[in-house]
C-alpha cells in the first residue's frame, strides 16, 4: 500500500517535472539548453587542454579527462536540480506548502521532480560522449565495456547524488533567496577533489585523504573502468585508485555512498525540523 502511494507520488511528480522542462515554447531553445550547452562547456575544456598540453586528443589521459568531465555533468545538474525544485515550488509557484502538507513522502516528490532532469542530462552526457568518441577519438569502448560494472556504478552514483541533492535542498528551506553558494561549494569540492579531470595523485598527500572519503571519487573511477578498461590500465602514473580491484572499488563506492546517505538524511531531517520550527516552509523572500 505504502509502496503504491510512493510510486504514484513519484509518477505524478515526474510528470509535473516533465511538464516544466518540456514547457519550452521554442523547441530550438530546449535543444540549446539541454544539448548544445553541455557540449559547448566540454569544448572549452578540450580547447584549454589542447592549448596547455599542445597535444594529442587520442591519449589515455585525454580520454580520462573527457569522460570525467562528461559524467561530472550529472553531479552538477543533480545537486542544483533538486535544490531548484524546492526553491521554485516555494518562491515561484508558492505551492511548496501545499505539497508539504499533502500525505506523501516529500522526498519521493522531490526525486520524482528531479528524475526528468536526470533524463535530460543523460542526453547531454550521451551526446558529449558520442562527440568525444567519433570526433576526438576518446577511447570509450577500448577493450570492451564492462557493462555490469558501468550500470551498477551509474545507478549507485545517481542515487547517491539524489540523496545529497535532497540534503542540500533541505538546507535551502532555511536560506533566503536562492543562495547557490552551498551547492556551488559542494559541487566545486567534488570537481577538484574527486578525480574528475585530473587524477587525485596530483593533489597533496593529505588532500588525497579527503578525496578517498568522497563517494564521487570512487564513482568516477568505476564509471571509467566500466567504459574504457584499456585506457584506464594504460594511464602510467595511475589514478590513485589502481590498487583497488573492481570489486573493492564498488565496495568502496557502496560504503562511502552509504555514509553520505546517512549524513544526507540526517541533514535533511534536521533542516526540515528547523524549517518547521522557524516557519520557513511557506516563506518567500517578499515577506
Amino acid at each position: 500500500m505504502a509502496v503504491t502511494n510512493d510510486l504514484r507520488t513519484f509518477k505524478n511528480a515526474a510528470w509535473l517535472g516533465w511538464q516544466m522542462e518540456a514547457n519550452w515554447t521554442d523547441p530550438f531553445l530546449f535543444a540549446t539548453y539541454s544539448i548544445v550547452r553541455p557540449i559547448a562547456g566540454t569544448l572549452i575544456l578540450v580547447f584549454m587542454y589542447l592549448v596547455i598540453t599542445n597535444g594529442e586528443t587520442e591519449t589515455a589521459f585525454f580520454s580520462y579527462m573527457y569522460v570525467g568531465n562528461a559524467f561530472y555533468m550529472f553531479v552538477a545538474e543533480v545537486l542544483f536540480g533538486v535544490t531548484w525544485v524546492i526553491h521554485d515550488d516555494r518562491e515561484h509557484f508558492m505551492t511548496l506548502k501545499q505539497v508539504y502538507i499533502a500525505p506523501i513522502k516529500f522526498y519521493v516528490y522531490v526525486f520524482g521532480r528531479s528524475a526528468i532532469k536526470i533524463a535530460i542530462v543523460s542526453i547531454g552526457v550521451l551526446i558529449t560522449l558520442a562527440f568525444g568518441v567519433f570526433v576526438l577519438g576518446v577511447q570509450v569502448g577500448s577493450g570492451g565495456v564492462d557493462v555490469p560494472l558501468f550500470v551498477l556504478s551509474l545507478l549507485l552514483g545517481l542515487s547517491m547524488l539524489l540523496v545529497m541533492g535532497l540534503a542540500m535542498g533541505g538546507l535551502t528551506f532555511l536560506t533566503a533567496k536562492h543562495e547557490g553558494g552551498i551547492n556551488e561549494g559542494v559541487a566545486g569540492v567534488f570537481y577538484v577533489l574527486s578525480g574528475v579531470i585530473f587524477p587525485i595523485t596530483v593533489l597533496p598527500h593529505w588532500v588525497q585523504g579527503i578525496s578517498m572519503a568522497l563517494p564521487v571519487t570512487y564513482w568516477m573511477e568505476a564509471i571509467r573502468r566500466g567504459l574504457m578498461p584499456d585506457a584506464m590500465s594504460e594511464i602510467a602514473k595511475g589514478t590513485g585508485l589502481e590498487g583497488l580491484s573492481n570489486l573493492e572499488l564498488v565496495g568502496a563506492l557502496l560504503l562511502s555512498a552509504f555514509a553520505f546517505l546517512v549524513l544526507s538524511v540526517a541533514v535533511f531531517k534536521y533542516a526540515d525540523k528547523v524549517a518547521r520550527r522557524k516557519g520557513k516552509i511557506d516563506w518567500t523572500s517578499a515577506y
Partner: protein, 325 residues
C-alpha cells in the same frame, strides 16, 4: 470521538533574525480551543491577531513554541503524518499554482497526492469547476487566470480531496462580492451535507463570521477573548445600547469616554468630507444627551444619530476597546 481540533495553552513566539532587530512577537499566547467534529468554526480577529499562525500550526507547517495542538486527536508536532491524511488547507489572497499546468491538471495532480481514484477525482473536479463557475477555464493554463479565479481554484483544491477537517485562512480575502458569495455558499453547503466534516475558517470580516459560523472565537493579540455562537456573543452586548453618531469634524474626543454610561467608544475621522463617525457601547441610554451636549460644546455639528442592533463589531469593541481596522 476526539474533537476535530484541540489546543492547550498553545503558544507561538517569533524571534527576530538578529537580536538587535526589534523584539520577539508573541503571535499566540496560550490559546485553548476545542472544536468538535461537524462544526463550522470561525476565528475572527483583526490583522496580526494570530489567525494564520494558528492555522499553520494546525496544518503541520509550523511548530508551536510551547503548548499542544491536536487535530483529530493527533499531535501536530509528532503525529504529523496522521494529521496530513485528514486535512487540507487553503489560504486566501495568494496566487499559488503551477502556472504552466491547466486548471484541471493542477487540481488533478493534487488529488493524486491524496490517493484519490483517478476517475472519481476527474468527476469531482468537473463538478466543482462547474459549481464555482470555472467550467470554461478547465483547460486553460493556471497562469492565464485572474486572481479571483486562482483563488477559487485553490478553494476547489482544498475541498476536492474531501478532507475530514479543512482549514480556510481568509478564504474570501480580496475577492469581489460574487466570488465571495460563491465560496461562502459552498462552505456552508459542504459542512451542512456532511455531518462528520469540520471547517475551521479565519476571517476579519465580521459579517462573514456572523453569517457562516456556528461558533466563533474572537481573537486579538494572540489571545482568545470570547468563544461562542454569534447569537450568544451578541447577547454580551444586549444589555448595552449601541449608538452610531456622525458629526462634522470633531477635534477633541477625550471627554467622551468619561461621560457616565459610556462603556466603550471608537471613532474614525474622515478628512475627505471633514466628518467624524463615532460608535458607542452604552451601559445607560441616558448618556446620549450628555454625548450630544459634549459634541456640540466641542464645536461640531451632529449630522446623524441612531441606535443600532448589536453586531459582532460591538462585541469586539466591548472586549478590546478598539475597532477592527
Amino acid at each position: 470521538m476526539p474533537p476535530a481540533v484541540e489546543t492547550k495553552a498553545l503558544t507561538r513566539v517569533f524571534h527576530p533574525k538578529k537580536k538587535k532587530e526589534g523584539k520577539s512577537v508573541t503571535a499566540l499566547a496560550g490559546v485553548d480551543l476545542r472544536i468538535e467534529q461537524g462544526e463550522l468554526f470561525g476565528m475572527l480577529g483583526p490583522n496580526g491577531a494570530g489567525k494564520t499562525t494558528l492555522l499553520k500550526i494546525l496544518s503541520t507547517l509550523l511548530l508551536p513554541t510551547s503548548g499542544k495542538a491536536y487535530v483529530a486527536g493527533f499531535d501536530v508536532e509528532t503525529q504529523f503524518q496522521a494529521v496530513r491524511k485528514r486535512i487540507n488547507m487553503v489560504s486566501g489572497g495568494e496566487i499559488s499554482g503551477y502556472g504552466l499546468l491547466t486548471v484541471k491538471e493542477n487540481l488533478w495532480m493534487f488529488t493524486q497526492f491524496y490517493g484519490m481514484k483517478s476517475q472519481l477525482a476527474l468527476q469531482r473536479i468537473d463538478e466543482m469547476l462547474d459549481q464555482f463557475g470555472l467550467a470554461d477555464k478547465k483547460d486553460e493554463k493556471v497562469r492565464a487566470l485572474s486572481t479571483g479565479q486562482r483563488q477559487k481554484m485553490n478553494v476547489i483544491r482544498g475541498f476536492v480531496t474531501d478532507p475530514e477537517i479543512i482549514f480556510l485562512d481568509e478564504p474570501t480575502l480580496g475577492l469581489d462580492v460574487n466570488a465571495s458569495r460563491t465560496i461562502r455558499e459552498y462552505i456552508v453547503d459542504w459542512v451542512g451535507k456532511r455531518k462528520d466534516r469540520t471547517v475551521l475558517l479565519t476571517t476579519h470580516y465580521m459579517a462573514e463570521a456572523d453569517q457562516l459560523c456556528g461558533r466563533i472565537a474572537i481573537i486579538d493579540d494572540g489571545r482568545i477573548l470570547a468563544c461562542d455562537t454569534p447569537e450568544n456573543l451578541k447577547k454580551m452586548v444586549k444589555t448595552s445600547t449601541m449608538l452610531k453618531l456622525d458629526t462634522t469634524h470633531l477635534e477633541n474626543k477625550q471627554g467622551l469616554s468619561s461621560i457616565r454610561g459610556v462603556e466603550k467608544f471608537t471613532f474614525t475621522d474622515n478628512p475627505e468630507n471633514n466628518m467624524t463617525s463615532l460608535r458607542f457601547v452604552l451601559e445607560d441610554e441616558a448618556a446620549v444627551s450628555d454625548i450630544v451636549s459634549s459634541v456640540i460644546a466641542g464645536g461640531a455639528k451632529i449630522l446623524g444619530l441612531r441606535k443600532t442592533e448589536p453586531t459582532l463589531e460591538d462585541v469586539f469593541i466591548k472586549l478590546v476597546g478598539k475597532g477592527f481596522e
